[in-house]
Symmetry: C2
């Protein structure tokens, strides 16, 4: 194996610092580019939080070097093999930073964008070498969440997509291939679809926000962490699998679909959600809930990681 | 505390036998009513699978007695404090069994229906004492999954709903209050909403079924097992919480909502799902996947149980 390649990360916000920690822990010499001098502090702070997580998830070399910070792509310490772009979701900002970046790196260096809202095709407009721009969207924080959504825009070279996929697979990431550009990619669309019905039911008084939250955490989340939504119905069909489920219960599912809501986030809905969330939080601040989330998710992901390792090992 | 009350379960299928195991393990003298003599065998088999799970989840008394089987409500060994109805989802079958049951038990005994498709109000038509019929819908299997959806129909006595809620809370269940009758209650509607978009994306070629499954198992499930969908956005708003999220990103979420699909389970869609599920299963039979699901879900639920115990304990 060749030594891990140098990586540059464009943007020292939450996602950029998180990505830098992932690459650094895996042994890649990693540099974050951000004109803001305060980015150096955010980077150290993220590294301190992320490294114990990455070690527990067995995603760290024995003695990783922390990521470095520079203020401009023109002063990178080494030509990067890949650049990960993790700037705020503003088209002009991204376009001008990409132009400055392209002037400083070789024409063939692949650029992976973490964009969640802007499409790769939009970002490619005006690029000198649009064929190298690839989607690589993580869940937040990138050092904890396993998935990366990989895809291209209208002008992306398919070989660049494969190379980016190989980079992330090498980090132990679960690569999801997005084959057509759609708003929200895969994960955010699925999340939005579920939340739309959660909002609908809260708005219509079917249940409290707190009980809808529990329907997800205690009713659906654990199962979905183990098997996906189509697999659930495949198993509901018994030994005959999905075809039998579709024969027996496809009509019932369509009946549910037809009764799902299409709410708007208007003032009335906002008030129900905000009041309901206050009740659901039961006095805990966002920071307290976030601490619980971080502890609990690490425990669950560690448990799932152990299970998939067991599953992958030969059974005697 | 009074000793656990006698419970009768109407119907010795998967759900009925599962419920019987939950009540028996908790120390309730439990009898399953099913005219089919083969129900006794299913009951013993479920008891053997369920008891180790219930012990691991700390939902069993030290020396529980197994549930009994009788073929008719007229030969129950003791008047039950509650009856749990878990018959197949056929209206005529449920109505005639409820009539036979009502003739054999006191007028005030609460009947809890596990119905997922038929509404409580529909089942109340023709009952001698409709005010005692309460919804109590579990996720399957009831001895593993924490939630029970509790609610009433047009003619349910609110006090009966509260008594049923107290019974299930006493078993350590997470009670979700369904305040208006809607197809699929809470959990199945949320599941259907997510699956609709999964089907849409598979149908439109946005991603493979296998990658959509992984978007849920590796991208969303672990987080949803820890915090619900509205809490996720509450935390995304930082210290200002949900109002800030709605101000900053509510419009983006509405844009995603407007792009979600509304597929039908027609022949073309069925073929894509069935072929995609075959690829996703990668040669594993439904039974093999189900074994993985059972092992992994028990591990995850046990981990979550430990975390919520830790959270409930005072922090020093």
């Amino acid at each position: 194996m060749s030594p891990p390649e140098p990586i540059a990360v464009l943007g020292g916000g939450t996602i950029g610092c998180g990505w830098a920690a992932v690459f650094s822990a895996a042994g890649h010499p990693t540099t974050v580019i951000d004109p803001d001098p305060a980015a150096a502090g955010r980077l150290s702070e993220t590294w301190r939080s992320a490294l114990p997580v990455l070690k527990r998830l067995k995603r760290s070399v024995a003695e990783p070097l922390p990521p470095r910070h520079v203020t401009s792509p023109s002063v990178l310490p080494a030509p990067p093999a890949f650049v990960v772009e993790a700037l705020p979701e503003r088209i002009e900002l991204k376009r001008s930073a990409l132009a400055e970046l392209e002037a400083a790196i070789p024409a063939e260096t692949i650029i992976v964008t973490s964009s969640s809202g802007l499409s790769v095709s939009e970002l490619q407009e005006g690029m000198a070498h649009p064929e190298r721009l690839v989607l690589g969207h993580p869940c937040n924080p990138p050092y904890l969440m396993p998935t990366v959504e990989i895809g291209g825009g209208d002008r992306t070279d398919p070989a660049a997509i494969d190379q980016a996929a190989a980079l992330f697979e090498g980090l132990g990431k679960v690569v999801l291939r997005v084959r057509r550009e759609v708003p929200g990619h895969l994960v955010n669309r699925l999340q939005a679809a579920l939340w739309r019905e959660a909002v609908h039911m809260a708005r219509e008084g079917v249940a409290s926000v707190a009980d809808i939250e529990r329907a997800v955490t205690d009713g659906l989340g654990a199962r979905w962490s183990v098997i996906g939504p189509t697999t659930i119905f495949h198993l509901a069909g018994g030994s005959a699998g999905l075809p039998k489920f579709l024969d027996d219960l496809g009509g019932e599912v369509e009946r549910w679909w037809d009764s799902l809501g299409d709410p708007r986030l208007d003032e009335h809905t906002r008030k129900i959600l905000i009041d309901g969330m206050r009740d659901a939080a039961a006095g805990r601040s966002p920071a307290e809930i976030a601490r619980h989330r971080d502890t609990a998710m690490l425990a669950v992901l560690d448990c799932l990681d152990d299970l998939s390792t067991q599953q992958a090992e030969p059974q005697n």
